[in-house]
């Protein structure tokens, strides 16, 4: 009986990869454990091993094919005593390897509980293609009305780049500019980053400035803060912010408060960065959004970008900032591509939200991966004649109340979208601020769409239920529009 060999996932969040190289050819006898092929993502190269014994009857996806979706059959293995040519001829048509293959949720994405997370390439202004195959450069010709575009001069060339690359470039550029900037964390140097965000930094800047730490979050957070007290500018990577709970005392009691307690003498120019929030199928201890936690603390700035362009511009600003900045990334966004301005020194100011999409009927406020639900929901709403204005907060603290309030004064309605918990969340804060500043403009109560009030479950169906969904956002928007 012929066996399909499927494109494997290298990580909980991988959706596609490149079939770099076949190490066996059609007709070869293979045993379990034999390396069949090498596959690549923008993060890593891995080997595909045979699990079953047999003959490689047919290769369905050839060397060098990009964007092969996880679980696509890549070859057929004929079982023992089976007619190889018969097995090969029973092969289905090779799976399409075009980027479009990704826009529909794959079975694997469903299995990973991601089916409901909108795929980025279905959202205008984003592009899920890996950079290995760069899109033709686009140019800003038509400046849209939102202020955020003023950050990018007219005529600037845009290049597509993943969030991961944008973050890396931001660090590299700041490290080139300032010898006081260094990066430390677990696996940041030789391993090139647990999520490959620090790829290449060790090679360029050496072991003195790109420092692998032991697994010791509380300790190295304190070491970073102490170094920052002396004026160095550490970029401390947490493998994920879930692990930073071990270090939260140093972040809050030492980094955030010392300037005040010293009467302004001792600043702490440090960036704590890393993936925050739920990835996929990693359960409760690895799936928490800390935006609300850190946003409660005076003395911290909290940044959580969605696009690659904001990731780059904001990380550069964070590294230059004289204050401690919590920089919350998202693992699922790392591999997504967005146009990034090609400028020598592109920064985005901390504390400014961006109107990502204009509309007149309802304001949707979100940030980070929450934007993927918000934007997709806005598209759905448009079909029903509701024009949603989508605000990307980008910075959580200081919160850009003015942009939110101005939008609510226009639309009279607001919903918030976040993956974090409902109680004392970012949505709760926004609702309170709208009450304080725009109560008379409201035509409906502010509604929050959040992660559910439960620890993140592991089971795919339960995880999906625990996260917000596009349907929930659409429903909330319609509810505040009384539709």
């Amino acid at each position: 009986m012929a066996i399909d060999i499927l494109m494997p996932a290298l990580s909980p969040t991988m959706e596609q990869g490149k079939l770099a190289k076949w190490l066996k050819k059609e007709g070869d006898q293979v045993k379990p454990g034999d390396v069949l092929a090498e596959i690549e993502t923008d993060k890593a190269t891995m080997e595909v091993e045979a699990i079953d014994e047999g003959v490689l009857a047919k290769i369905l996806v050839s060397d060098g094919t990009d964007n092969v979706a996880v679980n696509t059959p890549i070859a057929i293995l004929a079982g023992e005593g089976e007619d190889v040519s018969a097995a090969a001829s029973s092969a289905k048509a090779p799976a399409a390897a075009a980027p479009e293959a990704q826009s529909a949720p794959t079975p694997d994405m469903q299995r990973e509980g991601m089916a409901d997370r909108p795929s980025p390439d279905s959202i205008p202004g984003t592009d899920a293609r890996p950079v290995a195959e760069p899109a033709a450069p686009s140019v800003i010709t038509n400046r849209t009305s939102y202020d955020a575009m003023a950050e990018i001069p007219e005529g600037t060339e845009l290049v597509n780049m993943t969030v991961r690359e944008a973050l890396r470039d931001a660090m590299a550029e700041e490290m080139r500019k300032d010898g006081n900037v260094f990066v430390m964390g677990e696996e940041v140097a030789e391993y090139q980053g647990a999520y490959k965000v620090t790829q290449g930094l060790l090679q360029e800047f050496g072991a003195k400035r790109v420092i692998d730490t032991p697994i010791t979050e509380h300790g190295f957070a304190g070491v970073g803060v102490g170094a920052a007290f002396t004026g160095l500018r550490p970029v401390v990577e947490f493998m994920t912010f879930n692990f930073a709970m071990q270090a939260i005392d140093q972040i809050i009691n030492s980094a955030a408060k010392t300037l005040y307690m010293s009467g302004g003498q001792l600043g702490c120019p440090i960036v704590f960065r890393g993936p925050n929030g739920a990835a996929a199928r990693v359960a409760a201890q690895h799936s928490q959004d800390y935006a609300a936690w850190y946003s409660a603390i005076p003395g911290l700035k909290v940044v959580s970008p969605y696009t690659a362009s904001d990731a780059k511009g904001l990380l550069k600003s964070a590294i230059r900032d004289p204050n401690p900045v919590i920089f919350l990334e998202n693992e699922i966004l790392y591999g997504q591509s967005f146009p990034v301005p090609k400028l020598d020194d592109f920064t985005v100011p901390i504390g400014k939200a961006r109107i990502h999409r204009e509309g007149k009927d309802v304001t949707i406020v979100s940030f980070s991966i929450g934007m993927t639900y918000a934007l997709k929901a806005a598209q759905e709403l448009e079909k029903e004649g509701i024009q949603a204005e989508v605000i990307d907060l980008r910075t959580i603290r200081p919160l850009d109340t003015d942009t939110i309030v101005a939008s609510v004064m226009k639309t009279g309605r607001c919903i918030t979208v976040e993956e974090g918990y409902p109680q004392s969340g970012i949505g709760a804060e926004i609702a309170a601020r709208i009450m304080e500043h725009a109560f008379d403009y409201l035509d409906a109560p502010v509604v929050r769409v959040t992660g559910k009030d439960v620890p993140m479950p592991y089971a795919a169906n339960l995880e999906k239920l625990a996260l917000p969904s596009i349907a929930e956002v659409v429903q909330a928007a319609k509810a505040v529009c009384y539709r």
């Binding site: 300790g219 304190g222 070491v223 803060v225 160095l232 030492s254 005040y260 009467g263 302004g264 003498q265």
Partner: protein, 353 residues
């Protein structure tokens, strides 16, 4: 509890609970204790006396309601910080926990500024916003003043990291107590400091009680000089009541760290005469224990005796020193009593740069 006392043979105040120090402690200097010359003894006397009188005044002002919150006095431990400062050079940094008044004075920070911070006034070193446990001076290389037990150990290791990064030849003295020595981040820091050979000296001020808990009730290994053994960090137990022993050990430790060999641990066997904080009824030890420590091991009295006996100073000369020190302290207290409270607008300053 006697476990530690057995080890105390070679060093100072001993570590046993409710016992007086055993043989070999501070009265006679250990055979290899270096002698001080007259100037060293004079300087040590002045500095230790300033801390003693300052702390006595702080206690008094706390009683008068001029100082609020927590106030942890350094009385009895003066030889540790003064001796260690003698072993440092300009540029070396100091960081400690919340029993920090002595460290600030030893670093040369202004007594008026320290006292006014204790009273929460605008002329305080942190403009009245830090209080007893949180003061800093970049100019004097003093990095606090930290209220979270053990946090200063990682921070001090980070300051040493910065010295290493900048290759500036400076050493960071990182002080913590026998209580903090049981915090996890201490060992995380030890590991990184030795791994990266950071120029840090860990000074463990073992005053025998973590709040009200005797060392032997809280620590499986009461010889704190051995706390770095599994990382390969050398350590020694030091009679922390004898400033000459502190200075000599401090020189060895600082030299080790400065020469690129990495961290060094000094367990300073010392004693605090007062309670943990002002509100401590000190039921965990006998009055007799405290009295005997004061009478037989007082660090200032040891130097005073040398000044009289070896250096032939007169009682009048010592009195003159004492009144000069009192003058500084009284002036500080006067300033701290009458300096205005911070302007209400200060509430919202110094949160971000």
């Amino acid at each position: 509890m006697a476990v530690a006392a057995r080890k105390a043979g070679r060093a100072g105040a001993g570590t046993a609970n409710k016992t007086t120090p055993t043989k070999g402690s501070t009265r006679g200097a250990a055979p290899n204790t270096p002698q001080f010359d007259k100037n060293q003894d004079l300087s040590a006397y002045n500095e230790m006396l300033l801390i003693r009188r300052f702390e006595e005044k702080s206690g008094q002002m706390y009683g008068m309601g001029l100082i609020g919150g927590f106030c942890h006095l350094y009385i009895g431990q003066e030889a540790v910080v003064v001796g260690m400062q003698m072993a440092t050079k300009e540029g070396d940094q100091v960081i400690t926990g919340y029993r920090d008044h002595g460290h600030m004075l030893a670093c040369g920070m202004d007594a008026k500024g320290v006292m006014a911070e204790l009273t929460g006034r605008r002329g305080g070193l942190s403009k009245g916003k830090g209080g007893s446990m949180h003061m800093f001076s970049k100019e004097k290389h003093f990095y606090g003043g930290h209220g979270i037990v053990g946090a200063q150990v990682s921070l001090g290791t980070g300051i040493a990291f910065a010295n290493h990064y900048r290759e500036n030849g400076n050493v960071c003295l990182t002080y913590f107590g026998d209580g903090a020595a049981n915090q996890g981040q201490v060992y995380e820091s030890f590991n990184m400091a030795q791994l990266w050979k950071l120029p840090v000296v860990y000074v463990i001020e073992n005053n025998r009680y973590a709040m009200g808990t005797a060392v032997s009730r809280a620590s499986a290994q009461t010889d704190f000089s051995k706390r770095g053994v599994s990382f390969g960090i050398p350590g020694e137990q030091v009679d922390g009541m004898d400033i000459r022993a502190v200075y000599a050990a401090g020189q060895r430790a600082v030299e080790h760290a400065r020469s690129g060999k990495g961290p060094y641990i000094l367990e300073m066997q010392t004693y605090r005469y007062r309670g943990h904080s002002m509100s401590d009824p000190a039921k965990y030890r006998t009055k007799d224990e405290v009295t005997r420590m004061r009478e037989e091991h007082d660090p200032i009295e040891q130097v005073r005796r040398r000044l009289l006996e070896s250096w032939k100073l007169s009682e009048d000369e010592l009195k003159a020193i004492d009144s000069k020190v009192r003058e500084i302290v009284n002036e500080a207290a006067e300033f701290a009593t009458h300096d205005p409270e911070p302007d209400p607008s200060e509430l919202y300053t110094d949160i971000l740069l």
